[in-house]
């Protein structure tokens, strides 16, 4: 059954690549937030410089998915896996793009006086990173139960974002001198909130891969 061994090898290579991309996205976010909290613009620049490699990896995964579909015609769980990876790769690449935007904001903020506090933004990033790691783990183990739990936990990031939003607006009114910096921090919070949404997309794909169930846009989990 050489053909099937080839397919297994290709699926295994695809899994490795998408997890590598996931790891790169996770690291980009981690380092971008580090550059913000530690005021280290050099690390932020490294995040931006590395983004091309992440884009390249996404294209490679795209091509590999197309090749497998065209040449191997996978079915059932194999097909669901390839489709999930093909949809997941751009999501991971976009997470890395948001990390780049955070790195750009960090460079700008680091050139200005330090804010008294990053408010809940640090907690948001910790939660986003935790969600992303758990989502990649649940994808690796085809664990739809955990994936559903992670989707539910996105509400925590949304709550933190809402709280941060109102707090920063208040600060802009009460301390107009820091308004520009507060606005930049608000964008960082928004990027983290969007990352939470993207992690939700990854988890929906994991549920599809594991159970062939479409839960996107559904309220009932």
């Amino acid at each position: 059954m050489d053909t099937h061994r080839h397919l297994d090898d290709e699926l295994s290579s695809l899994r490795d690549r998408v997890l590598l991309l996931g790891g790169e996205a996770e690291q980009a976010l981690d380092r971008a937030m580090y550059s913000l909290s530690e005021r280290d613009s050099e690390v932020a620049r490294q995040v931006l410089d590395h983004d091309d490699q992440i884009d390249h990896l996404e294209v490679e995964i795209d091509r590999q998915c197309i090749d497998i579909i065209a040449l191997r015609q996978p079915a059932a769980r194999d097909l669901r896996f390839v489709i999930s990876v093909a949809k997941m790769a751009p999501v991971l690449e976009r997470i890395a793009d948001h990390a780049c935007n955070i790195a750009r904001a960090a460079i700008d903020l680091n050139n200005e006086p330090e804010l008294k506090s990053l408010l809940d933004v640090s907690r948001m990033s910790e939660h986003a990173l935790k969600m992303l790691r758990a989502a990649l783990d649940s994808f690796t183990s085809s664990d739809a139960i955990t994936a559903r739990e992670i989707i539910k936990s996105d509400s925590e990031i949304n709550d933190l974002y809402n709280h941060t939003f109102h707090r920063l607006i208040e600060l802009m009114v009460t301390e107009p001198a820091t308004a520009t910096r507060d606005a930049r921090l608000l964008f960082v919070a928004k990027h983290l909130e969007r990352i939470g949404d993207y992690v939700t997309d990854i988890c929906e794909l994991t549920v599809y891969m594991a159970e062939a169930a479409f839960i996107k846009h559904s309220i009932k989990l």
Partner: protein, 274 residues
């Protein structure tokens, strides 16, 4: 072809309700067992084939799918030592009931085989053959009309209309197979059984047969046996998976190829069998 006597029956076993794919059942099979001598080839098969759909039978070699296909118009009767049990109902009539007119049955349930088998006659005479022996028409103009209609239905008319009197053996493999389909369609069957009809054809000829199947299901109930999983996925509405003489799963084709219910089915269609 001589009329066959009904094969000896065995006791009908109680079986689970047949899976229903939806719609009115043209063919309903209940607890079907089939034996080649002492060897049991089919075990308690129950399923329903709704009217005007394409159902594909898939499974590894020797799983019984072709045997099962041939039970649907009693083609297995010609094999000595075979026995059948259970029921095959077409429009609620048991085709294995004593007194069944097997020639009439095979007129209603036509068959196309893996290898095209045109008679060494002209294209016209091949299609007209069934009409003549069944004395379907008395006038030559009506006969010509039925031949033309069958060739059009088989998507062959435009390719052969100017050479109807030439030998059928001069046609390409794909054309010969479509001629055999035209021959089967000429006597206006209700059900068309196809046993790997495109397995010997190139991709272009295969594509024509598949398009033809798609068009024919508007008028006919079609059952196709195929080893080509992509073909089953392309042409059928419903797919049945057989293994070791048992029906493992019947499901909508899109479900079967994306998320089958049974692990055995999943293992087979993902090529991880054995």
């Amino acid at each position: 072809m001589p009329v066959q006597t009904a094969a000896p029956r065995i006791e009908v076993k109680a079986s689970a309700p047949p899976p229903t794919a939806g719609g009115k059942a043209k063919v309903a099979v209940r607890g079907l067992d089939f034996f080649y001598g002492r060897v049991q080839a089919l075990h308690g098969i129950s399923l329903e084939i709704p009217e005007r759909i394409v159902m594909a039978f898939i499974g590894p070699s020797g799983c019984g799918k072709s045997t099962f296909l041939r039970t649907l118009n009693r083609m297995n009767d010609v094999i000595p030592g075979t026995r059948v049990g259970g029921q095959v109902l077409i429009d609620d009539h048991d085709i294995y009931a004593p007194g069944t007119d097997v020639v009439e049955l095979r007129r209603r349930v036509g068959m196309v085989f893996q290898k095209s088998n045109p008679f060494p006659k002209s294209i016209f005479d091949n299609v007209a053959y069934g009409l003549r022996i069944n004395k379907v028409t008395s006038s030559s103009s009506e006969l010509a009309g039925r031949v033309e209609e069958a060739l059009k239905d088989a998507a062959l008319w435009n390719e052969v209309k100017d050479r109807l009197k030439t030998s059928a053996l001069s046609l390409s493999g794909g054309q010969q197979q479509r001629l055999c389909i035209a021959r089967a369609l000429a006597i206006r069957p209700e059900v068309l059984l196809m046993d790997e009809p495109a397995s010997a054809l190139d991709p272009i000829a295969t594509s024509k047969i598949e398009e033809l199947i798609f068009d024919l299901k508007k008028q006919y109930t079609i059952v196709i046996v195929t080893h080509n999983m992509q073909q089953a996925a392309r042409v059928s509405d419903t797919t049945a998976f057989f293994l070791l003489g048992k029906l493992i799963e019947v499901n909508a084709t899109e479900k079967m190829f994306t998320a089958p219910n049974e692990k055995l089915t999943e293992d087979y269609i993902t090529g991880r069998f054995g």
